[in-house]
Symmetry: C2
Subunit: 665 residues, 2 copies
């Protein structure tokens, strides 16, 4: 039975979820059988030495007389609380209490013990460190330190960083979720639980939300235009896309529940309905989604809010004592930044400036910029965006109170910003003084076969240096203003040039940045230092990192793209075949969620080994999604990076993982 | 003047065309002036010691009395043939003849000499190795060896491999082309000259061709569905796409003239017209294109056919003596393969099986396969394709007469094979017993954001192992049949698994291949050896090449994709910004045309250094487009590869470049 269950699909999913390699074997212990079902002086039970739900220090468990283990587990008979065993088998109970203490003493951890009483004699069948909720894990860790059974370092190592997620997000009511059967499963892309009425457009999400309704936004995939709708929803469900698709990344940034890439959904966006698990859902139907497990449920499942105890703060305080890696956050808005700082972020590792362009007033100017006929027209349009962008940066600098803010210059291909609705196109044509056909032809000319490897990143700044100049002005002016307002802060703007693959690209764009920045600083007659660095997200950047490092103040590893290019694997398309890869045991984990140390990690190592000798002062961090994944954080510690940066709600996970890595040493 | 012209845009284009780095400087010689315009006892002229057009050994040149150099070049006065100088300045002429012999003797090459006569005294202003046509280059090289002035090796080094192209393809009539002004310029994607009437669809190209008309196929971009139309056309002109776009690659394979990526064309495919250089062309209008220079001309420019002299064979014979690298070809059809063998190919390095699926009968079965609901249905559809594919392979083995044939298994994403026309969709729906809406939904579900990094290559074989099984059967059965028919040949099929990035992918697909192949061989009771290897085209494959090599009989570097992934640069989208990159001197050459040794080459080097120790018997080659580029061939020689593989018409170039690399040592 053990060997048969060893390799079943459920076991493999469990392994993947828990970072257990397929190659590990199993052992089987063969023991003499004892019988709990030989009469009324027999029995069997299971007990935890502390409460696995809350961590409270008291024996918890269940017990049945004249029964075997299956009877307790199967729920056919209702077991009695463990305390009643004191009446039935006083001697065995007394001995059991002693054994519990001995075992806890030995393992220095809460034990999950199975036992049988045969003719009043106690037999211990098995003990193991008990599974526990995140809340209990913190309580037990803090108590064990207080009891002198664990050091702070040992206590830190006890906690699985991935469990912290559940402390920070709403969860389904435990009983309700046990009773529910999922309709289907996507990827648990952003943790938490959500329940609401299905809507199919960002506009509807906004409208229903304003009308006081809770909604789940269901989309084939999300695009930057959906952001306000995503904010308005309780959760997001997408048919396409992986763990680092647009929906997943943005939702994690917002701390919003998201299930992505549920390919089993037959979607009919036009008619606002979809089919899953044999049931068709129309607008307004209730669904519930779990962004941790990826399960999708029919109807209403009640959720309970997150509750952060004092233990959380205690343990986070310990992690800060022991970790070497700094932890920054990926945040584009002051509210995200504030949330992240609350959770312990020591700076912004990645501010994506493009998200700022989608608000109504700005998108118009941005589109004017895209469709400008000349450099002058483009500069005129950029001039309209400049004050907005400067204002955004000022608010970020305010929120960070002098902590570092690393601002990435415009990255996505321009076609992400063009209108798709007929009305918007007609409006744009009017503004631009062009015909609708001309605008459509221009939009078509922006089409790309492989946008991920197209006209984006620093390639935009090479073709349109005026964009980089505008963004530099916004950064430097904002920094000057906030530095003036807070002379005690030390603001050193970090400007990050994305998608560099050849040092001459960096030099070219850096020249624009430095000339613009120096002119701004001179005009303001202030003394402001700033840094210009680059994302390392193209394999060739790793291969030529010596040349690049000599021209960069910092490297920030963009491991999302580095994974895409390194594997030749589009994260938005991978969901279609990843399951086949898991089934065939080709991949043991999603390389977008957990860093592939063997391949992508080797590129990073190469970049560090080439880069550091070329520039001894270079500062290195990671701003890909991997910055919030515990095993990847450990790897970054080993690589000798200076910091990791992750979405706000993952900051505690990164702090804990960084401390664990330092303690493991 | 020298310094001013040094950095002008024309100079930079010249450098890029001739592989001269921007970083090289220029020197200026300052000399005393002599005057050829001080009277009738003065003059000036230019002469070649051999005919630069044919290579014939006789003095060629022009001469003017009482004139300066500009007068000869500018064409204001008509110069006299050099021979007449014998009458005007007998002493100077005699001396000049002697100087010519001395200079040729010294440089061991044909000289281009500028001279002035001042008061009857001869001054030599400048001498240099003269520019020459490809035909002349061969003639001079062969003559110099016959004269004992050069060794065969030295003669080989004299010839620029890139010039051989002009020997193998039709060219414009020299006088006509001098008189013509180009309307615009795209990329010279496949050499040769072509003239014909513009058509806008593959169907029209076929129909007009059958009606006896010569046509140029003008497309936004080509797709695999256009192949028969491309064959029927004299040349292909595309608006989008780079040097390794579909049109470029296929045209080069066919030896067909192609100008790609002419972004200046305003295309209106629907109405079958386009505008370029201020002129609108409709269906049937004559245009002329030059696939070597990329120029596009209005109207009819006569072409002259290629003429291959005996010198070509002589020199190719020499190259085979000295080169170490084998030269194979990329060919999918027997006619391409025969052409390549004629030009010296020693095997097929890359047979792309997908091109075989587009013929009418097969595409239907292939689409059935794509839209099959079950493995059984898919297998039934594949069963229909099997005999066709087997027949194709048999013809290839016949054409190769026992030389190696490396067959790559299905590579492109499936959406490349789905119908786009309403009628075809309706037909498919009928065949599949589905509604048009269902078929459309299925087609939509195949859409990918970044198809280059999507569900393709070995990923198809992982999700649909039955495709790999069918292709294995076709290869093995074909090999068995042809081996039986020709017992003196030694047929060893080479099966190539594309897009491997992780050894477990290769192992998984290889298991299907080996099991199928062994079963076929056992069933036929024959003794057939075969090899299973992989394309190395994903950066991660290079990074983990030790693991992969231990499971592969050969590596074939797919440097097109390796360049795309290494640079994070989509070849189909790069044309939009490459010009800006050249102008800013960020790129010195198109990395898809010429291998980037610093980055992509480093990945190759890593793969070789990791792979060879892991498998001492491993065979390594290159099958990317770079296999036909001289500087890349030299690099492959240095890397220690066993062979290069290139499109048929580039085989002579590769042979020459391989010999040059070996001679340079």
């Amino acid at each position: 039975a053990v060997f048969r269950s060893w390799d079943n699909p459920r076991a493999n999913v469990y392994r993947r979820d828990n970072d257990i390699p397929y190659s590990w074997g199993t052992a089987v212990n063969v023991q003499a059988m004892v019988f709990g079902n030989m009469g009324e002086d027999c029995g069997t039970g299971v007990a935890f030495t502390r409460d696995p739900a809350t961590g409270e220090k008291k024996l918890m468990g269940e017990f049945l007389t004249n029964a075997q283990g299956e009877d307790v587990v199967a729920g056919v008979r209702t077991p009695m609380p463990i305390a009643e065993m004191a009446d039935k088998f006083p001697a065995a109970y007394k001995q059991f209490i002693e054994v519990c203490a001995t075992l806890e003493d030995h393992y220095h951890d809460m034990q999950d013990i199975e036992f049988t009483v045969e003719n009043e004699k106690l037999y211990i069948l098995q003990t193991r460190n008990g599974k526990r909720t995140a809340q209990a894990a913190l309580q037990i860790a803090v108590d064990l330190v207080a009891e002198g059974r664990k050091t702070e370092q040992e206590a830190i190592l006890m906690i699985d960083p991935r469990n912290l997620d559940t402390l920070l997000h709403p969860q389904f009511d435990v009983k309700a979720i046990k009773a529910a059967t999922p309709l289907g499963r996507g990827l648990g892309a952003s943790p938490g639980a959500a329940c609401g009425q299905a809507v199919f457009t960002a506009e509807d999400a906004n409208a229903w939300n304003e009308a006081g309704k809770k909604v789940i936004l269901v989309r084939l995939e999300t695009s930057p235009e959906d952001i306000t709708g995503m904010k308005a929803a309780q959760g997001i469900l997408t048919v396409r896309g992986g763990m680092t698709s647009h929906a997943a990344v943005v939702a994690r940034g917002m701390g919003k529940c998201c299930v992505s890439g549920c390919g089993d959904i037959a979607m009919d966006e036009e008619n606002k309905k979809f089919t899953l698990g044999g049931k068709t859902f129309v607008e307004g139907d209730f669904i519930s989604i779990d962004g941790s497990t990826g399960y999708i449920y029919d109807g209403i499942i009640p959720t309970v809010d997150a509750e952060i105890s004092g233990n959380f703060g205690t343990i986070m305080g310990w992690t800060d004592k022991y970790r070497r890696l700094k932890v920054r956050t990926n945040a584009d808005t002051p509210s995200d930044a504030l949330k992240a700082r609350e959770l312990g972020a020591e700076g912004i590792g990645l501010c994506r400036t493009e998200h700022m362009f989608f608000e109504a007033e700005r998108i118009a100017a941005f589109r004017e910029m895209i469709f400008a006929d000349s450099v002058e027209d483009r500069e005129a349009a950029l001039e309209k965006i400049l004050p907005h962008q400067q204002g955004d940066f000022e608010k970020l600098y305010e929120a960070l109170e002098g902590n570092p803010v690393c601002i990435r210059f415009l990255d996505p291909p321009l076609h992400e910003f063009v209108p798709t609705e007929e009305a918007d196109i007609a409006h744009l044509a009017k503004v631009q003084g062009k015909s609708v056909e001309e605008i459509k032809a221009l939009i078509a000319s922006l089409h790309e076969f492989n946008p991920m490897m197209g006209h984006r990143g620093c390639r935009l700044a090479v073709t349109y240096p005026e964009i980089a100049a505008m963004q530099t002005k916004a950064v430097i002016r904002a920094a000057i203003n906030i530095q003036k307002a807070h002379p005690d802060w030390n603001i050193v703007p970090e400007i990050m040039i994305p998608l560099v693959g050849e040092v001459k690209e960096l030099k070219y764009v850096k020249k624009v940045v430095v000339e613009t920045a120096d002119a701004e600083i001179a005009a303001a007659s202030v003394n402001l230092k700033y840094k210009v660095g680059t994302m390392i997200e193209i394999p060739r950047a790793c291969l030529t990192a010596d040349e690049i490092a000599a021209n960069a103040d910092f490297f920030s590893f963009g491991t999302n793209d580095l994974t895409q290019m390194g594997f030749g694997l589009s994260r938005d398309d991978a969901a279609k075949f990843l399951d086949a890869y898991y089934d065939a045991k080709i991949y043991e984990f999603d390389p977008f969620a957990r860093l592939d140390q063997k391949g992508v990690g080797k590129l990073m190592k190469m970049a560090i080994e080439l880069g550091k000798p070329a520039n001894k002062d270079i500062h290195m961090g990671i701003c890909g999604e991997h910055g919030g994944d515990p095993s990847s954080v450990e790897f970054c510690h080993e690589l000798g990076l200076d910091y990791v940066s992750c979405s706000p709600f993952r900051v505690p996970i990164a702090r804990l993982a960084a401390a664990q890595a330092a303690i493991k040493g």
